[in-house]
Symmetry: C2
Subunit: 388 residues, 2 copies
C-alpha cells in the first residue's frame, strides 16, 4: 500500500468520523427532553420513531467516551456520554431481575426484553469508558456488574429464556465474540483483572468449536461440543460476523505479540472472505450456507452496512500485522465498493440496507439495530491503523 | 373478462394444481420412514433440511383432504392426508400443556414452540376435512379442540408468552383473519355451531380496529381498542395479508348473500392494492408504511410468492362478485406478473422469494414457512371461480 494511498485513507476515515458520522448523530439524535438518544432516523435525520433501542443507547455512549479518552478531551463528547449514561441508568434496567431491556419508549417505559443479553455487554463498555474518562469508581462497579450480567445470562440462561427445546442444543458465535471484545475493552478501560481468562476461553471456543478446517469456514451455530448440525441453522455462515471476530482475535495477537493468534484471525478472515465476498457484484453477502445450499433467511444476499465495516477493519488490520499484499488488495476491493455504494452524498452518514447489486433498499440511517457504532468504530480504528 | 380468457385461466389453475404443484410435493416431501412431510426442498425437490414445520404438516394434510372432498375421491390423497394426520397426532402436540409445537425433527422430537398458536388453527382445518372425508367422529372432536386451543392462546395468552411488556399493547391482523378462515372451514367440514359468531366478531374487529378510512389502509398492528400507534410496528401495512383477509370477508358475503360484506372486502382490496402494487416493477410489495415512511423490516420490498397468490384470488373473486372491470384488469396485472416471474419452468412449482425487480433471490421451494398451501389453494379457488 503506497504512502499516498495510506495518507488518503487516513483522511477519509478521520474526516468521515469527525466531520460526517459524529455530527450527523449529535445533531439529530439527542433527546434533550427525555434524555438518551432517538436513533430511528430517516436519511435526512428526521426522527421516524421516537422509541429507543437499548443497544444504541449504550453503543453511542461508549463511542462518545471512547473518543473523549482516545481522540481529544472534548467536553461536549463527555457531556453527551453522561447524558446517554443517565438514561441507561434510569430506564434501561428491569428492577425486577436486574437484566436490561432491549427496547423502551421515548420516556423510558419498557417495551421489550430479549432472551439474550447483548444490551448488558454494550452497557459494560460504555460504563468502562466513562470510568476512564472521569475516574468515578461507581462507573467501574457498574461496568463489572453489567459484564457479569452478560456472561451469566449468556452461559446460564433460565429455562424460560430458551428459544428452543433441549432436543438439539446449539450455541452461537455471538457470545464468545462479544465476550472477547467486551473483555478487551474492559481490560483497557477499567483494568478488569480476569479479562485475559475470558478472552482465552472465548478464543478457544471459537477455534475449537466454530472453525471447521474440513469446510474452511467459521460456523455461526454449532452443537454444545462443536458438532456440525446439518440443518439450515447449523450450516449458516455470517461472513461479516466471523470477520468481525477475526479482527478481535488479530487485535489480541497484536496486544500480546502472539503470532499464532494473528494467524488464527487471518485464517478466519481468509475463510470468511472466500465465502462472503460477492464476486459478481462486489461487497460482502449477509448469509451463505457452508455447503453452498440455499439459506433460509430471505435477506441472505442483501448488502448490510456493518459486514462491510468489519471487513474494512479486518483487511486493513491483517495487512498492518502481516504485510501480506493480499490483504491490501482485499482492503482496496471492500473499501472501494463500500464507499461507492453506502455513503449518502446529500445528507451524510451511510445507508444501512442495499440490495445485492448495490441499489438502495431502505434509506433509514438508524433503527433498533443501526446506530452510531459499526461505521464510526471502523473510521476510528482505520484512521489509527493508517497512521501507524 | 372474455370467455376465452376465462377458459384459458381455468386450464392454467387446474392443470397447475393437478399436474404441477401437487405432484411436486407428493413426489418429494413424503417421509415414508418417519411419517409426515419433509418440506424444506431445493428447487429440484432435493431435501435441504429434514426438519418438519408443523404449519406445513397441517396445511398439506388439509389440502389433500380438501381435494379428496371437493375435487375427486382419490384414495391416494386420502391416504396421504391420514399419513400427515398420524404424524401430527403423534408428534406435534406438547403433552405438558396441550399446545402445539412449531418445529420438530424428522422423527418428531420437538425443537421449538412459538408464543402464538397458528399451528392449532391449521391443525383444526386438517382434522375438519378428515372428518368430512371419513365420517370418523374422533376427527371432529380433535378439530374442535384444536380450534379452542387456537382461540384460547390467541385471546388469553399466558403472561410468560407475551413478547412485549404491557406498556404499549398491540394486537395483530393475523388472529381475526385466521379466526375467520378457520371458522369458515370448520362450518363447512364439521358444521361447527358457533362458527358464525366467531366470524362476525372477527370481521367486526377488522372493520372497526384495523381499517382506517382516514388513511385508506388496513393496519397490521393496532392498539387494543384500535388506536393508531405512530411507530414502525403501528404504521406497518402488509398488503398481501390484508388482501388475504379481504377475500375471506368477500367469501363470507358470497356465502350469506350479504352485499355489505362484499363491499367491505372490496374496500380492503382497493386500499391494499393502492398501497401494495408496485407500479415500478409489478407485483405486490411485502411491507409498506401507512404514512409512506421507510419500513424497519429489511425485506420490505421483496416479492414473496404468497402475497401474489392471495391477490390473484382476491381480484378474481371481486370481479366474480361485482362484475367491476377494474378487478378484471387488476387480476390480469397480478396474474401475468406472477406467472411470468415465479414458476420454475425446469423443475415445476413456484419460487418463493424474488427481489423487487423479479429476479430470483432464493431457489428454495419449501422451508418452515413455504409449503403446499398458498399456491395450491389459489389454484383450487381460482379454478372453481373460473368455472362459475
Amino acid at each position: 500500500m503506497s504512502p499516498d494511498r495510506l495518507d488518503q485513507l487516513r483522511g477519509v476515515y478521520r474526516d468521515g468520523l469527525l466531520g460526517d458520522t459524529l455530527p450527523f448523530w449529535t445533531e439529530h439524535c439527542v433527546d434533550s427532553q427525555h434524555g438518551g438518544f432517538m436513533m430511528s432516523l430517516d436519511r435526512d435525520g428526521t426522527v421516524l420513531d421516537t422509541d429507543k433501542g437499548v443497544w444504541q443507547q449504550c453503543r453511542f455512549t461508549w463511542l462518545l467516551a471512547e473518543l473523549y479518552n482516545n481522540v481529544q478531551p472534548n467536553q461536549q463528547w463527555l457531556d453527551l456520554a453522561q447524558h446517554g449514561c443517565d438514561f441507561i441508568d434510569r430506564h434501561c434496567f428491569d428492577p425486577s431481575d436486574g437484566r436490561m431491556w432491549f427496547h423502551v419508549t421515548r420516556d423510558g417505559e419498557p417495551i421489550r426484553k430479549r432472551r439474550y443479553a447483548f444490551s448488558e455487554a454494550f452497557a459494560a463498555i460504555a460504563y468502562g469508558e466513562l470510568f476512564q474518562a472521569t475516574g468515578d469508581d461507581s462507573y467501574r462497579t457498574k461496568a463489572v456488574r453489567a459484564f457479569e450480567g452478560f456472561v451469566k445470562q449468556s452461559l446460564h440462561p433460565k429455562a424460560s429464556d430458551l428459544k428452543f427445546t433441549g432436543t438439539r442444543s446449539m450455541k452461537g458465535l455471538g457470545v464468545p465474540m462479544i465476550t472477547i471484545i467486551t473483555a478487551q475493552e474492559l481490560r483497557d478501560s477499567i483494568g478488569m483483572s480476569d479479562a485475559n481468562e475470558w478472552i482465552d476461553r472465548s478464543i478457544e471456543t471459537i477455534r475449537r468449536d466454530h472453525m471447521r478446517p474440513e469446510l474452511e469456514c467459521v460456523l455461526e451455530n454449532v452443537g454444545p461440543d462443536g458438532q456440525f448440525i446439518d440443518h439450515f441453522d447449523g450450516r449458516l455462515i455470517n461472513p461479516g460476523h466471523s470477520i468481525e471476530g477475526a479482527w478481535f482475535i488479530m487485535n489480541e495477537g497484536k496486544y500480546r505479540s502472539d503470532t499464532e493468534l494473528i494467524q488464527l484471525g487471518c485464517r478466519m478472515l481468509d475463510w470468511s472472505w472466500q465465502r462472503g465476498w460477492d464476486s459478481q457484484y462486489g461487497g460482502m453477502l449477509y448469509f451463505v450456507d457452508a455447503k453452498g445450499l440455499p439459506v433460509q433467511e430471505y435477506w441472505h444476499d442483501m448488502k448490510f452496512w456493518w459486514p462491510q465495516n468489519e471487513t474494512i477493519i479486518a483487511t486493513l488490520l491483517a495487512y498492518h500485522l502481516t504485510g501480506d499484499t493480499k490483504y491490501a488488495h482485499w482492503h482496496q476491493l471492500i473499501h472501494d465498493w463500500a464507499y461507492s455504494h453506502f455513503p449518502d452524498r446529500q445528507h451524510g452518514e451511510w445507508y444501512g440496507y442495499l440490495h445485492r447489486d448495490g441499489r438502495l433498499s431502505s434509506p433509514v440511517k438508524g433503527n433498533l439495530w443501526k446506530g452510531p457504532f459499526h461505521l464510526p468504530r471502523m473510521q476510528l480504528m482505520c484512521w489509527r491503523l493508517a497512521e501507524q
